[in-house]
Amino acid sequence: MANLTIKNLKKSFEATEILKGIDLEIKDNEFVVFVGPSGCGKSTLLRSIAGLEEVTSGHILLDHKEITDLAPAKRNLAMVFQSYALYPHMSVRKNMSFALELAKEKKDVINQKVAEAARILELEPLLDRKPKELSGGQRQRVAIGRAIVRQPKVFLFDEPLSNLDAALRVQMRLELARLHHDLNATMIYVTHDQVEAMTLADKVVVLRHGQIEQVGTPLELYRNPANRFVAGFLGMPKMSFLPGTVTALDASSVTVELTFGGSVTLPAAGEHLRRGSEVTVGVRPENIDLVDASEASLTGFMDIAENLGSDTYCYVKTDGQETLTVRMPGNFTCNYGDRIGLQLHADECHLFDEHGNAIQKPTQMAA
């Protein structure tokens, strides 16, 4: 069992507030990803949970026991660092057994646990090497192995994949997902990479400026972002945003006149909107179609098209100089500078008010 509860956690360094009151529940066996731009406080939050940072106020409870001020050594958590932080003077075996030795485990128990971790991570042939004789991916595995052998209540990962090259990162991502499944452990994972967040998480926590912007499953966040920031942060390529003005609204839909041509009527419960409100329409690349310029009221010029084989991402510049990203099939072709029409799938569009908060879809749509 490992339920982690964080209550109104605050952390300041001198005059700067790094965490501005975090409330969070993490359930047993959950894979939770903290994601956000650099400086959003996600690493500080993780390090506070680990006990490596002193918090200014608030509480951290592990299985209903206060651990806010407990020394890291006594929390029974394991951490995998971005730089791996292996002990350079110890062999791989020693790196993994160090914590167990400190805990005064019996020798044969230690050996058995290390062997087990080495087997899972395919480190058996490397056990007697020193970290400097290993490749980046192997070091990463040792760092994970060091955490596994301890059978901690919670695994903490601090951007563990960011020092690996792209191919290895994808591979390790899969291995981590498998590991979570096999170990059935509670994991907290910090990253700035939204792909890692989307693919690994049971629950994503989006942070910005030391505050939680939204918590939810990856799909919830993708489909119903709470605000413009979350909408723009998750999704690759990013959601495009178009400014506009509300021209008509009723209980279940809002009609927006886009500033640079065209209008959309989208389902939204815009109770607090008025006619004339400034809003932003957000639309994902897969929810736009390219049509002939004459068939659409919103038009633009083709800028760059990136063909990935399976898909083609077209970047279209509107007359307002915003760039819209459109996902087209892999066989789509067009020319730079072509005048082109854009058709938005109104049902899939997102609407944000002037503060960037999302206008929720009407309830019958969400259900």
Partner: protein
Amino acid sequence: MLSLKQRRSLNTLLLGVLAWGVALAIFFPIFWMLLTSFKTEIDAFATPPQLFFSPTLENYTLVNERSDYLHFAWNSVVVSFGSTIIGMMLAVPAAYSMAFFETKRTKGTLLWMLSTKMLPPVGVLVPIYLIFKDTGLLDTKTGLVIIYTLINLPIMIWMAYTYFKEIPKEVLEAARMDGSSLFQELWRVLLPMSKGGLAATVLLSLILSWNEAFWSLNLTASEAAPLTALIASYSSPEGLFWAKLSAVSTLACAPILIFGWISQKQLVRGLSFGAVK
């Protein structure tokens, strides 16, 4: 005409010869001291100086009988190692604290420590002498150990600090997560990782204490006098014992010279307070 390649290798050769010449000239006094130590007193005083002679070891055997060499050497060993051990016990925790738990005051503290090194010994000679006289520390090894610890402490802290600074903080944090106590973190992770740098720090402290000659000349007479003071006593001409002087000097300098050779590269950092690596 020489080709470019030939000219270049000739240049290299000439510069190499020049470098060797300069090096030998600078080393000559030490070489001459070593040579003289194997001469008889008559050969040592011969004019012109003898480069070739029948070597003898008698100076080395006589040194202890004449001047109780071992007594002074023992004092040097006790004082150097004593001050180095105490110094390390103070410097390592201090450097650890400043390198890994930096606060607003850390930089100021480091600079202030450096500035204590700038206090000229003559400025405090009189009070130290009087304090030592009143407390019975005059001419004791304990007294010298205290002084040497204090004068070398800033350098030791700086040197250990610059080495600790190169160790990634995360490794220590990993140890903490793994369940290390403070002592285990220091003893089983930090010290093994920085043993090269700490060894150099120890060597520098040994070298500086061994060669220190202001306080040892002023605060000791005979009981606690280290080798620097023994050698200084040869300046009063109770007879011309140059071969013996050379033998004593060679014995006194050899260990430190070897230490210095071994650790020359690391010493730069300590000697320049981390400004040159």
